[in-house]
Amino acid sequence: MTPSRRTKDILLYKTYAELKAEAQRNFLGFLWWVIEPILFMLVFYFVFGKLLGRRPEAFIPFLLVGLVVWLWGQATIAQGAAAITANRGLLNQAFVPKALFPTVIFLKNTFKFLFALLMLLIFLVAYGFEASLAWLEAVPVLAIGGLFILGSAYLAAALTPFFPDLQVLIDNGLRVLFFISGIFYDIDTLNTSYKAVFQANPAAVLIDSLRAILLTGEHADWWRLSGVLVGALCIGGAGYAIMRVNESRYAKIAY
């Protein structure tokens, strides 16, 4: 059997296994893939919509688009950082290409994300937004977003086993990113000299573009998105290269 065929088989089974294992861990199982973003949204709706009283027009759809995308990226990158370390037992029993582990994490979370996205679209229509062919522009936007998330997970997975302190930095970095990505507010309304920095953040680019397409009927910001694409290829390429070069060193790291 060719190595690529074996890799594909493992990818398929491992992703299926992880999804099923996650769904069977508790009573509500895969329903949590829908409930979790909704619960998350309710908290933010309550805090920022009710308590602090800053409510842009149609705040719930605005918030939901941001959160669904955010949860996809956040979960993939945080789990991706631990992907190789979490499989150290397996690593010492059989040779498995290391890039496989963050890829499985990405596929698992992407499947959950698509599920949540479908719910989101149904919700939007029920809320009164008109589904149109223009929504298809979201497909390439999500592809670029996915590539960026996968690339980040690759780099995080490649480096964390060598520098375990990175896991803490990544978790905290993601927390900061959450607050500066305009998930529960509109970056355009900010009155700060850092606005340009905020807008260059890939998470914000992705979320802004999706909101433009789905909520306000505008086009995505393709100029900024192409920057994200270039970034995704650089980061992901670097992560992949590091994993390939060090393929047989990960099993030797004493944990």
Partner: protein, 235 residues
Amino acid sequence: MPRSPTKGRRPLLSLASAGVCYRRRRTLRSAGTLHWALSDVSFEVMSGETVGILGRNGSGKTTLLKVLAGIIEPDRGKIERNHSSISMLSLQVGFLPQLSGRENALLSSVLLGEDRMAAKRNLDAIVRFAGLEDCIDDPLATYSSGMRARLGFSVAYHTTPELLLIDEVLGVGDQEFREKSTAAIKELIKSDRTVVLVSHNLPTIRELCDRVVWIENGESRMVGPTEEVIEAYLR
């Protein structure tokens, strides 16, 4: 009876002065240190033969198996491979408690290098050998440790790499299954398969191996016919 010399056979794998170095991680309070688990190991594995690796605890046997399996690469010296597939007879690779026995068997087979289709074809035989026909669709979490061990063994036993690496011929499970699995492994080794067998049980090595590599302090002290090496080892 051990088979005769290696004439006419081709080398599937050869090591030349291979060494493996582990580095202890640096922290703020301690500098990293180097430790050569293997320092100078050379030998060949010819197709169809069974090579025993003999050595005391801590001599580097497990590290050597990992090098042969391709899990780690030597930091110095050379390794040459001419085999199509190789795997360690590892038990319960990648098992997840939430999945059924059947799903775990498939996942584990694929991780051990089996084709997805071959894994599916083997499934009945795997289940039968493990004696788990009645509960193969139950979640693994409901299995006793003996049942898991049986499934793990059966999966590993049914993989078919060209070169098989075995770390101790240990039977698993209860008395009955232990005898059955030990006998099965011995049959497998005696067949035409190419096997590298690690053990510190001399009778096992004597019974099963054509040639023996004696490892001490990370070096191959002696390579040769089983009886000669064992005699030198005991001296």
